[in-house]
């Protein structure tokens, strides 16, 4: 009977990590449904960007209040989780505070975890107030109803509960150490939880042990639950922010990629030696689809973008179209892409890994044409995103589909394009008059 807790712990750990691994594989498969894109260039600059933007949080502090609060939560969470290593070893081997032997260093570590935990509690509370009491506008756009709204709050509750469990566990432990209970070695320094432990002054040793054990277990189970919650949440960003900033765009923001398939066709058309009436070569593959109408037409970096989105709405709050009441919201573009990709992934799960048409697509069923045509391509969203997401590239790919596959541009734009084609200018002026200005007074 003595080893039951160890056994139970290992089972829970394996299940927790097992599910997490399954989700990571599913995530990887879904992202790789995107088209291939070569991002093997400029590795040193990519490492530098990741270090600066994700690790260094440089773009977070453009807005200082959420930026600083986030740095506390981010650092706090990473550092406090060093403690998880000890918890796992203790859980497997039935030890208690196995690193206690570190002595002074251990005291220092525990003390800093406690102070960070307190700071995280304060920050998370302020985050909650901003969402629910101050009700910042960017958290209340139409795309933030339902699950996204609940998700935003749930994350804060979970982090709060985990921190409270951690501190309560330490408080009970500290009290047990004071009472000289068996198994509870004198170790650690408890600058925060010693105040909590005052609440437990009248408790018996057995009740304290019960409290310590319950909080210990809830804390680790909570962490494993949280790990598995990530896949379903915007909180996935805590992992994906790193690869996403690594693979972020390096060229000037104004540079949109030139479609290679079009280049080939244009070259053929401009080549005087090409025979326009030649029968297509036997092995000619099916002509490539231009632009994107569904998630599988996007490239995998764009799909990684979608899973990395924190739904913070910094992009939307800087978008000129959204600011003036248009339906377009770059955050919604990213959320729709993720939702549709999830839907495609679920269909594949049901059909042994094969996709079966479901009569739906990203265009129209998720993102409307009205949204796409409202974009000014101003790059404000790209600049605003703290995790290097590029919503504009998705908008442009979808416009390409509308125009080149469907000839479905708004009529004003068709006129403009007709003018360019015929007169070399977006207005109906004759190219031969292009220099007239130089003779007008």
């Amino acid at each position: 009977m003595q080893y039951v807790p160890n056994f139970l712990f290992v089972v829970i750990l394996v299940i927790g990590i097992g599910f997490f691994t399954r989700n990571i594989f599913r995530l990887r498969r879904n992202i790789l449904l995107g088209k291939d894109v070569d991002v093997s260039d400029n590795r040193s600059q990519r490492w530098a960007n990741m270090t600066r933007i994700a690790l260094g949080q440089t773009k977070m502090v453009v807005r200082p209040i959420p930026g600083i609060l986030h740095i506390i939560v981010y650092l706090g969470f990473i550092i406090i989780n060093l403690e998880v290593l000890e918890i796992i070893i203790d859980g497997i081997f039935g030890t208690h505070r196995v690193f206690a032997g570190l002595g002074g260093l251990y005291d220092f570590l525990i003390a800093s975890f406690e102070i960070l935990a307190l700071l995280v509690i304060v920050s998370v509370t302020i985050f909650w107030i901003r969402r629910n009491i101050i009700r910042l506008k960017r958290f209340f756009k139409p795309e933030m109803k339902g699950w996204p709204k609940m998700d935003g709050n749930l994350i804060l509750y979970i982090e709060l509960v985990l921190m409270l469990l951690f501190l309560t566990m330490n408080a009970a432990d500290f009290q047990l150490q004071q009472l000289g209970a068996d198994h509870y070695v004198q170790a650690g320094s408890f600058p925060v939880s010693k105040y909590i432990s005052a609440l437990f002054a009248d408790m018996s040793i057995s009740n304290l042990i019960l409290l310590e054990r319950v909080t210990w277990w809830m804390h680790i189970v909570g962490i494993l639950f949280f790990l598995n919650y990530l896949y379903y949440s915007k909180h996935l960003h805590i992992l994906l922010a790193f690869p996403n900033t690594f693979y972020g765009k390096l060229t000037p923001k104004g540079q949109f990629k030139n479609l290679e398939s079009v280049t080939n066709e244009v070259k053929l058309m401009m080549d005087p030696s090409a025979d326009p009436f030649a029968a297509p070569a036997e092995d000619a593959s099916e002509p490539e689809k231009f632009g994107a109408s569904d998630v599988t037409d996007l490239n995998w970096v764009q799909l990684l973008n979608a899973y990395s989105c924190t739904e913070c709405g910094r992009c939307t709050s800087e978008c000129p179209a959204n600011l003036t009441g248009k339906k377009l919201s770059p955050r919604k573009i990213m959320m729709d892409t993720r939702d549709r990709l999830e839907e495609v992934g679920k269909i594949m799960d049901k059909n042994k890994g094969e996709f079966k048409e479901d009569g739906k697509q990203l265009l129209d069923d998720y993102i409307t044409r009205e949204e796409l045509w409202a974009c000014t391509s101003c790059n404000a969203c790209v600049e605003a995103c703290p995790v290097s997401i590029d919503p504009l590239s998705i908008i442009m790919d979808m416009r390409q589909y509308l125009v080149m596959e469907q000839s479905a541009a708004p009529s004003d734009l068709n006129n403009m394009m007709g003018n360019i084609e015929n007169n070399g200018a977006p207005w109906p002026f004759n190219q031969m008059d292009r220099l007239n200005w130089s003779k007008e007074s």
Binding site: Q255, V266, A321, K326, T376, M416, M417, R434, W437
Partner: protein, 263 residues
């Protein structure tokens, strides 16, 4: 009245065996739009004054394809690009200057992949260089002490990180440069980009240029400076919608400099 403009074309220059220092890419707005033509002329006056050896393509110039590309018509864009590149390469163009940030962005970033490799600068960068080389001199004159706010064109600022050249020029006019609440990296679009210039806006509760003009008006400017013919139109319309056109002028940086020099 200032003297006649001297606007040589590439064809003329080439025929007489000359090669200009720089090609001035006028762009569609600069060639045809009544308001933008004034900017073109102001810039040429400065070029003439500074004795810059330049030429234009004239009737051989065609739309860069920017609005087609941003509207999603990659095909039309590349047709335009390849045609223009053929012309420019035939003239062995090395350096291009343009007063339109959209042309600037497209020529600089999107043409190289299609065989058009040139050093491309925006006219504010070019003017700043002329100033540094002492080829033009600037004294504030009529703009001394005036409150000027500068609107960052998206395709110059965020798209290509050019924020300081236009501002340096304004400061050189001895004017008081005042910044709007959103400026530089966070500058708000005027509403024209991405082919919006050529269509009606989607349904909303305000026009983007009005929103941006309101931000400009908050700085209580005497002049709103711009560096893009499309921004210029949008801001001019915005100022009109606020019935402020009598007290607030919308001017391009080139116009500011030409006026200051009494050209």
């Amino acid at each position: 009245m200032a003297s006649e403009l001297n606007v040589p074309t590439m064809a003329e220059m080439f025929a007489s065996g000359q090669k200009p220092e720089v090609l001035f890419w006028v762009g569609c707005a600069g060639s045809f739009d009544d308001r933008a033509k004034k900017i073109t002329k102001a810039f040429v006056k400065i070029l003439n004054q500074a004795n810059v050896s330049f030429a234009v393509l004239g009737t051989e110039e065609s739309c860069t394809g920017d609005p087609a590309k941003r509207a999603g018509n990659e095909f039309l864009f590349q047709m335009q690009a390849v045609t223009n590149i053929e012309v420019m390469n035939a003239y062995e163009v090395k350096k291009v200057v343009t007063a339109c940030p959209h042309c600037f962005n497209t020529l600089k970033n999107e043409y190289p992949g299609l065989g058009g490799n040139y050093e491309v600068v925006h006219h504010t960068q070019f003017l700043k260089q002329l100033l540094e080389e002492g080829r033009i001199t600037m004294e504030g004159g009529s703009y001394k002490g005036k409150r000027i706010t500068y609107h960052d064109p998206c395709y110059l600022g965020r798209a290509n990180n050019v924020y300081e050249a236009p501002r340096d020029l304004i400061r050189k006019l001895d004017a008081e440069l005042v910044e709007m609440k959103s400026c530089k990296q966070r500058g708000l679009c005027c509403g024209a980009g991405g082919a919006q210039m050529f269509k009606e806006p989607e349904k909303g509760d305000k026009d983007i240029n009005v929103e941006r003009t309101e931000q400009a008006l908050e700085t209580k400017p005497e002049i709103i400076a711009a560096g893009c013919p499309f921004c210029n139109t949008m801001m001019t319309d915005g100022v009109k919608s606020k019935e402020k056109e009598a007290s607030i002028a919308v001017l391009d940086i080139a116009e500011l400099i030409a006026n200051a020099q009494d050209l």
